[in-house]
Symmetry: C2
Subunit: 200 residues, 2 copies
């Protein structure tokens, strides 16, 4: 018995292309969407097209925005001497939520990953260099890529590129997460936390 | 600092309405979709609209189909004396994958759930009764609703409705899942497995 319902299969396949959505979940979502009233399905489809059309990269920092410049780059109240380099637009959102950082950002849109065929040319490294050459305001670049092997390698690669420009290049501190239990911290994190200990 | 990007928020909100998609996942999906090439985003949006428009309920069994009748109801090789009542179109797919069942189906599109305000009139109970009254072919109705409190209650409710029609009403067997470890079976399942034991 062939149970294929082609439009449903096509939709499940589309959902299955989204990151973190497996085959079972994709089918569940497809079944849900075909049960929606026509108006709701159209609203959903329209939100996809509208967002994809309206959202672009900020002309300065490459963060996502629906305008020429993102809100941080448009703001006059930010500290132009500090630039925080992150992998992803969601990392900007995470740092903004701390309300502790007043500088600017640069979004790489990925990390260097030779295994996945991602080299520096696939990231916004060229834009970062051009930006630092054009502006004398930036004094410090904070590498805030993820504390993963690839994030680490990308931070090292960029720091080697940027140091000749006479900039201070720093890296986020490693240590035990606030509120966590030492017992469950992995050895590498704990070793880094000891290494980076500070006087009280 | 206001970081809202309205079209992105709208899209994340739409993803967040899907079952099992939380706020974080919805944001991740929205960020992914706005990074897609325009063509891919349009294809995705179109798949939603096309599927919602094309997929409807089978005029006989209420399973999903893109035609007037679903593949099972169109088929001439099925046993019209047996009707399997399930909650959801995905349950039909699950039973079909066993290749053990040759009868017909009826899809309720839900279960009776007073807490969620779902009564029999929200399900396809009326269609089931009309179908059984119109056709003298059906001899046995198998209740294959989920082994949950609500699935159970729905099976009991329907069996009380159907028995006066002179039909055999049966229920899926309970027991230990094949390949599972007895040690990890819950007491209710194990008690049911003992109760339903069969001579070897």
């Amino acid at each position: 018995m062939d149970r294929m319902i082609p439009p449903l299969e096509t939709l499940a396949e589309q959902f299955g292309r989204l990151p973190g959505i497996g085959r079972k979940t994709a089918q569940r979502l497809a079944y849900h969407v075909v049960s929606l009233p026509a108006g709701e399905a159209k609203t959903f489809a329209q939100a996809i097209v509208s967002a994809q059309e309206a959202v672009r990269r900020c002309a300065v920092c490459c963060d996502l925005t629906d305008q020429e410049l993102c809100a941080v780059c448009r703001s006059t109240g930010r500290d132009g001497a500090t630039l925080c380099v992150v992998e992803d637009p969601r990392d900007v959102a995470a740092i903004e939520r701390t309300h502790e950082y007043r500088g600017l950002y640069h979004v790489l849109h990925g990390v260097i990953s030779p295994l996945n065929g991602v080299g520096p040319e696939a990231l916004t490294v060229k834009e970062l260099l051009a930006r630092l050459r054009d502006s004398a305001a930036v004094r410090e670049v904070i590498m805030a890529t993820n504390p993963t092997v690839e994030g680490e390698a990308t931070a090292m690669y960029l720091s080697r590129l940027l140091k000749p420009l006479g900039l201070t290049v720093s890296r986020l501190a490693y240590g035990v997460p606030v509120g966590a239990d030492l017992e469950y911290a992995d050895e590498v994190t704990l070793a880094r936390a000891l290494e980076g200990r500070r006087a009280l």
